[in-house]
Symmetry: C3
Subunit: 351 residues, 3 copies
């Protein structure tokens, strides 16, 4: 059913995006069309990646998921960087972190908790992820912010590059740790899911779909970025709000859906892996890669967020760690995360 | 014994308060009389609430405790708001949070630990409370502070109202969670205390005493608020110090006493429930209710503390979470909390 | 082997230090000689303290270790204070906290983890230490910083003295707790290490060596402090960088080595005790003692760090707590701590 809707959306959305753009339809209308089309295309990218991951086995599959999991976000951001929209990119990174940590995890815990009284997930993974969240957001994002005060711009950029290289290195280290040196070490046997999963598509078909949908996302994203200014003016939204809420929700919609479905099916390990794993990928891989890529464009992007962005991420991480650290969830823990997201959403709207 | 002292204090304090006020006795003397009288009256309110709670059963009883637990604090604050003493109210909220988290919990752990080598309390409750402390203080108090910088006053108030409504909603959600959907889910059977408690007073008598003592507290509090300025000038105290230390201690004295007695009797679950539960009630219910009530007065109160107030609460919460998270206490953990309270007390005194 | 190198280094280093100083050799050369000599002398002080601790039994031994463990750091700092180098002393305290928490613990976890898949240490100790780290760094260091903004200097100093006295008192309380009232309470029997350790040196010899090497360290440290300015100018390093990285590494080199060796031998309890215990000694004993001692000199030292110093320590503590709290380590947790140290190192270098 969902797949059918996605199919029709793509079938209609891509041509409409092309036609509308060259016919100069209303930018607000095009903004909506672009957003919906990207969400549907992201669904295809996700399914293609999953099929490839099953074919390729857990190691290469883990790498694939890690690389393409936030590809949409990455593509939109690159086009935004090319337009010099550094503030929008930083805002959308913030939005992805908040969205995954509070909205996705919150909805998963809440919806799952409505059906199941108590849900559990691997407590070792929770702690491993807590350490990385602390490192990425509380150390690697906070330090450049504090040290950059009163630094000349060149040094701020040097610090940002250094931090980015360290973040990417540690992210690769984490993959190596989980997929090679400590695979299964912190896992109960019963947890091994999907012993004999069948891929949805064959290797060739999956590759083709991944290629085409990625290309389509790139085209639509490039168009989307140009509508931001008009939309911001029309609705009285700040660029910050567009980045933090709109881009983040569009870029992560596919993941949101699957995490909540997994939680409803009581597969909390996967739901948490999507929510927290995606947060870590944004913070430790996408963000630093964008910093490094920005050196190719006219306006380079330092790893320096605005204070509201940074404090939102820091408090979200502290809340998520305290709530997830015992590996036990219920509807109320979900509600707490959602309440935090709501507070920050109001804050960014009013800013 | 204690009850007798309270009886005599009320018997003497209330008339003295009335007479002294209309005879215009020295304001410093009246300040002392008011404070002592309120502490004694709060004792009566507490006992009446407890009797009613036993009669009404755990659900309604929980609601009653949740509503009347910090009634004194609420009453004093409303009168202070009517006088436009917004800063004093914010300070006394801070003082209640610090007082409950560090002073009450600290004294309980310390005094209990002098008698018992190790004391334990329900680790699930500890984690549930940790999540709420993080949410209330680290998210809901910090976000308005950070976002309000550079916001026009109207938006700050809008943000404060939004955060307040969310806080109250989640507080009610927490009651629903603990009293309805997950009652006893996270509890060991052996923990169920007081299977057949007898109420001290009959329903009618308890209601009458609650009504009269609440009325008396209201009258005395209204008088107390008018003495702040004189006392501040006479002793060289800042309004901040009066709010953070004096009002907070007077408003919470009754709870302090019972938490420490419970800890001494090794009933740590109840002692912690009083200390942390009261903190949460202040932060998630009293504070936002006061923000909303302040809209009725000339000076509305945003949920924006001074930086020393906010940082004190944030660090107190982090310390309390790390110390209480394992559900195991001893005298040294109590001493650590007390030492933190002392440091903040010196800070506010010097400010 | 290592002992032989230390022996030769001391035998050559001390005379070279004396001769070089009075012959006015190049200050950069002398800086290197002083640093190497102090590291070797610190090795002797450590071994002498250990021998005395074994002879004296666990209580007095614990006290001895607690007092002489960071004696080198203390001696260098006193001479720096006498020269009015308040900023260097605060920076070197910061560097010791960061060095022990991130570099020493990080290297221990990493090197130990290369040999052993999972290593464990006493989880009660980890939690006890977490509480103290929170108290010392997050409460006792943050509060003066925040409250001092806009305070006159005299009050800042008063607050610093108050906090220092409380820190020292609680540190002594912690020793009393661990060595007297709760000795062995939180310990598994199997953990009791070294039931019949033989001291390396006799009591008299150990005392003599401790006395002589302490005297030599004092002399060399006094000389070292005078080279800072020249070295800073020559290499373009800030005083902050010298304090945070150089002085901290020199002052703690001996401990670094033994912690890593212990981790390699899978004696994680001792490795963690050295890393975290030393951090706590710096924060709760050396730092406040230096504040009080500074009253004897012309420039008194408030307990107010620069913002980059404070935020580095706060984030390091939060990271270390989340990573160490489960009492389980592996190479990747070590790598995470080292990555955090590297980020801060780059930051201080660029500042």
């Amino acid at each position: 059913m969902v797949n059918k809707i996605f199919f029709i959306t793509v079938l209609a959305g891509v041509p409409l995006s092309v036609v509308g753009r060259f016919m100069h339809w209303s930018e607000v209308l095009m903004f909506v069309i672009y957003c919906v089309t990207i969400i549907a295309l992201a669904g295809y990218m996700g399914r293609a990646t999953e099929s490839l991951a099953i074919v390729a086995g857990p190691r290469i599959g883990g790498l694939l998921n890690a690389t393409f999991g936030n590809a949409v976000e990455l593509i939109i951001s690159i086009f935004a960087l090319r337009e010099g929209l550094v503030a929008v990119v930083l805002a959308s990174l913030t939005g992805s972190v908040l969205g995954n940590l509070l909205l996705v995890a919150g909805l998963s815990f809440f919806v799952g908790g409505l059906k199941h009284k108590r849900q559990e997930f691997n407590v070792y993974d929770a702690r491993h992820n807590s350490g990385l969240l602390m490192f990425a957001v509380i150390v690697a994002f906070v330090i450049p912010e504090v040290f950059a005060q009163g630094m000349p711009e060149g040094k701020t950029m040097a610090l940002s590059i250094g931090v980015s290289v360290i973040l990417i290195t540690l992210y690769l280290g984490a993959l190596f740790f989980r997929l090679v040196t400590h695979r299964g070490v912190y896992q109960h046997k019963s947890e091994e899911t999907g012993t004999h999963e069948e891929p949805e598509w064959s290797k060739g078909k999956a590759l083709l779909i991944l290629l085409i949908s990625t290309g389509a996302v790139a085209f639509v994203s490039e168009s989307l970025v140009h509508t931001f200014e008009t939309v911001a003016t029309r609705f009285g939204w700040s660029e910050l709000f567009i980045g933090v809420i709109i881009v983040a929700v569009v870029g992560n919609a596919a993941e949101h859906a699957s995490a909540i479905i997994m939680a409803y099916k009581n597969k909390m390990n996967i739901a948490v892996e999507i929510a927290i794993g995606s947060t870590l990928q944004i913070a430790m891989f996408i963000a630093p890669v964008l910093v490094l890529l920005s050196l190719l464009f006219q306006d380079s992007m330092p790893l320096v967020f605005t204070l509201p962005e940074l404090i939102s991420m820091v408090t979200a991480v502290l809340l998520a760690i305290v709530i997830s650290n015992d590996g036990d969830t219920n509807w109320f823990e979900g509600a707490t995360l959602l309440a935090a997201y709501l507070i920050m959403g109001i804050g960014f709207y009013l800013l």
